[in-house]
Symmetry: C2
């Protein structure tokens, strides 16, 4: 009665702690694992930001008056607030103890995605250009291994309507981001109900379930045999423009 | 340098087409597959609704004046609009060709989750009580197989800020829904950045990536070796209350 149709593997990998002083690239590191064609490699944004030395030292920040005032409202350090503002296009929602911005990339999220848990040494924003980072890692891996893979950089973000964070794709290369299925038919020959699938977000969430948030130490996940198109996707195509969004 | 830490398997299964006249339960059907303890079984809501005979025949519906008027605005049949209204607590956003409601369950989604692609025979709402359905399926499987499993009922929904649909968990049983990680520490001994993880949504998205939306015919997915707690979760605990949501 029941038939196996797809078997996808999700392999969570431990890597050495990234300090930002590595003498190797992420592509070189990842290529030490036996990769296969059509593997989707999902990497936690924190690792990408660190290896790209995208960390701002606190003593290099001079908080503006706006940051000083917001700092009191939010209960956050003025330096952190300054980085949140620097990383944003605009404030989307501001509450007594939260700030939701649109980042310069276009993501709507808490604190511009700036990592505060890292503030002992410095403050860590999201990678500057996650699509470009994903592309570089993918090209590097292809050069070293000859394998055609997809790369997704993921982050955990909160959501309207739903409690709890969920992994999303902030950078994509070599694999579909937004899957347009318009014109395709369902099992009964009817037009599809859902015509656009956020497939890279679904794979990012898949990886997040394995990465965890705690002391798992698994910032790298290989998804093998994912039934998705290996096209030239981007993370950008998953962002809904402000003027097309009825919830902004 | 790189160490394998977790290997999660995601098995997409084909099942017989569900007509609504089955002489077996979903638990009986699923139990024909060799399940293991701690498998997470993800089932597409459409299959659950159909086997529960939760399909409304068009000729049994008398559209109200409100449904008739909305029908013109939305370009949808009055009968479909009536079911959308019947399934909702309130209209959250209404546009020229879309309607976003809060369903009676509390989900904020397009068309109250009502499936219109099914309108040749009838109109299919979401399962009436997805947590209860998940619980019944899980208990049935446990009775037949003796295995302790988790059950998630998933659906694909659109999202603010992000393009494309993404799988979410509308019903949960036997596995964690919202994972509270407050008080836990990261690798550096710091308090976690994200304290609540929508883990059942991440697993629902995992399954959706394998199920597809088209003629894949894979409404059932087994997730094996998922590194998540097998606690008494619900789908309800993933719903953010209206008064706690700054985007409503």
């Amino acid at each position: 009665m029941i038939k196996e149709r797809v078997k996808m593997e999700v392999i969570g990998l431990e890597i050495p702690l990234i300090s930002g002083n590595e003498d190797y690239t992420l592509a070189e590191l990842i290529s030490t694992y036996p990769l296969e064609d059509k593997d989707v490699i999902v990497i936690a944004e924190t690792v990408v930001s660190k290896i790209e030395k995208n960390v701002i030292l606190k003593n290099e920040i001079t908080p503006s008056n706006e940051a000083m005032e917001l700092s009191k409202k939010l209960g956050k350090e003025p330096e952190v607030v300054q980085v949140i503002l620097d990383e944003s296009n605009e404030i989307v929602k501001l509450g007594p103890n939260f700030i939701i911005t649109e980042t310069k990339h276009g993501f709507v999220c808490a604190n511009s995605g700036v990592d505060e848990s890292n503030t002992s040494k410095g403050i860590k924003p999201l990678p500057k250009n996650p699509d470009k980072s994903a592309e570089e890692i993918r090209m590097g891996i292809e050069k070293i291994t000859g394998k055609k893979v997809g790369v997704i950089i993921n982050d955990s973000m909160g959501r309207p309507f739903r409690k709890g964070s969920c992994g999303i794709a902030i950078g994509v290369s070599g694999v579909c981001g937004l899957w347009d299925r318009k014109g395709e038919k369902d099992l009964f020959g009817r037009e599809l109900k859902t015509t656009e699938v956020g497939i890279a977000d679904e794979l990012a969430a898949t990886a997040s379930a394995v990465m965890g948030q705690s002391n798992e130490g698994i910032p790298l996940v290989i998804i093998r045999n994912a039934p998705v198109p290996f096209t030239n996707g981007t993370g950008k195509e998953l962002i809904r423009k402000k003027e097309e969004d009825v919830f902004r």
